[in-house]
């Protein structure tokens, strides 16, 4: 349902394009935040981690800008139908990306504690889940950029893999704590980190879902719920 017709008032198109590009930029930033946070974590690069923390401000700023701009578009243009859905989706996607950025920052903030702890377990698993999350964000943003409801649906499906992977990593880390109580603090940090990455996956799914709504006007049937991965399946 890609609409190729332009608005009679071209500046309306310009506005929408600008809004999309703001969101797109945010998405790109958030994704690289996540990547760099993981890199910093794996390479124990405290400096890089600090930069990631610093860079999050930019995303926050962008989000506020995008939000104001979306509100301004609504106020100025009274968009309807597809246009309205698109603006609302942008508004909500912006908030979600900001959250992804925050997760990235949160991961980066834990880097110093982890690197100073000397604990080096589960790094392959973290790298793996990190790249899964990053890819998911990437796909979600691509579906947004291309207004592609099919890709969006694929993203939504892709989230399950990350959830499963999180479960197994979580088990592993719990095991490590049980193995050596010294590991408790760093492993707990790592648990939070992988939880964050799992949440990033959920949020990417949210984005995809909004893209689907914006493009088709219909909600995806099984709406995956954010913050809902409890890891309940773990035997206790």
């Amino acid at each position: 349902m890609n609409s190729t017709t332009a608005h009679t008032v071209k500046s309306f198109d310009d506005d929408l394009r600008l809004l999309r590009s703001m969101i797109g930029e945010m998405g790109g930033l958030a994704r690289s935040q996540v990547n760099e946070a993981i890199t910093a974590l794996l390479s124990h690069d405290v400096e890089l981690a600090k930069r990631v923390v610093e860079a999050d401000k930019r995303i926050d700023e962008l989000e506020m800008e995008a939000e104001s701009f979306a509100i301004s578009i609504i106020a100025r243009r009274s968009p309807l139908a597809q246009d309205l859905r698109e603006v609302i989706a942008a508004l909500k996607i912006g908030a979600v990306i900001e959250r992804i950025g925050d997760y990235g920052k949160n991961i980066a903030k834990r880097v110093e504690a982890l690197s100073s702890s000397g604990y080096r377990g589960a790094s392959a698993g973290v790298e793996q889940i990190g790249s899964m999350a990053s890819t998911l964000v990437d796909d979600a943003m691509r579906s947004f950029a291309e207004r592609d409801p099919f890709l969006a649906r694929a993203v939504s499906d892709g989230d399950e893999a990350i959830d499963d992977y999180y479960e197994s990593l979580f088990q592993t880390l719990l095991g490590e704590i049980a193995e050596d109580p010294e590991n408790t603090a760093p492993a707990t940090h790592l648990i939070f980190i992988i939880k964050n990455l799992e949440r990033i996956g959920d949020h990417a799914t949210n984005i995809a879902e909004m893209v689907h709504y914006s493009a088709t006007g219909e909600h995806l049937e099984d709406r995956p719920k954010g913050g809902d991965a409890t890891g309940l399946s773990l035997p206790l």
Binding site: S3, T5, A6, H7, T8, V9, F12, S78, P79, L80, A81, Q82, D83, L84, R85, G217, E218
Partner: protein, 280 residues
Amino acid sequence: MATQVTEAAAEEAHVREQTLVHDEIAFANDAKMTARDVDVFYGEKKAVDSVSIDVDSHYVTAFIGPSGCGKSTFLRCFNRMNDTIDIARVQGRIELDGEDIYDPRMDVVQLRARVGMVFQKPNPFPKSIYENIAYGPRIHGLASNKADMDGIVEASLTRAGLWNEVKDRLDDSGTALSGGQQQRLCIARAIAVDPEVILMDEPCSALDPIATAKIEELIEELKGRFAIVIVTHNMQQAARISQRTAFFHLGNLVEYGDTETIFTNPRADRTRDYITGRFG
């Protein structure tokens, strides 16, 4: 010349191709008025092309569409006001409560009492406010005495939300009111003959936002009691006050359905383009 004709034909074919997108509501079971395959011609020119629609008693139905798409023309079929235009010719079937209104046995005078109309520019009669309202009931013999008539006048004005503003000056001329008040007076006048349907042709386009808001508020209140059909240029207005929206284009009914759906998620491309301001 020949190419022009061909192009026009091609254009028309294209238009026909895009069939009507209809909710099931287009053909409601308890419709107050129904139109089936209505064509309207002005001389040789077809202004409305095979439109079918059902108007429900309980809703406000809005007609939107670009200028000249035939909204007013089609609306005026519902109370046969097109009869007053010499060159206008209506084909197809329009029913009010199942009766064909273009049947020769249908009495136009009664039809128009049952299907009231409010016009674009407020057109109160140059009589007193009281007489404006009393006019309809009087010609139709709806009041048997003065007390009756007073009651009708008060009730109609009250319903039109005008009673408090004018009750102390019922003898003033209707034309001495402000534009918005005049339009409410016209609505009260239409109500006074106890119609079943009220047709409104861009009733707010001559009014400022304040007066417009008041009329919209009034329509909101009348909704349910009368079947209301309103033509409007203002999409926001259609979105605000109607429950059903019909989108016309080049004399065709392109889409008819639930207002919210039309404005948030229209089905036809032409509707979407019009609603979102993509006019080519």
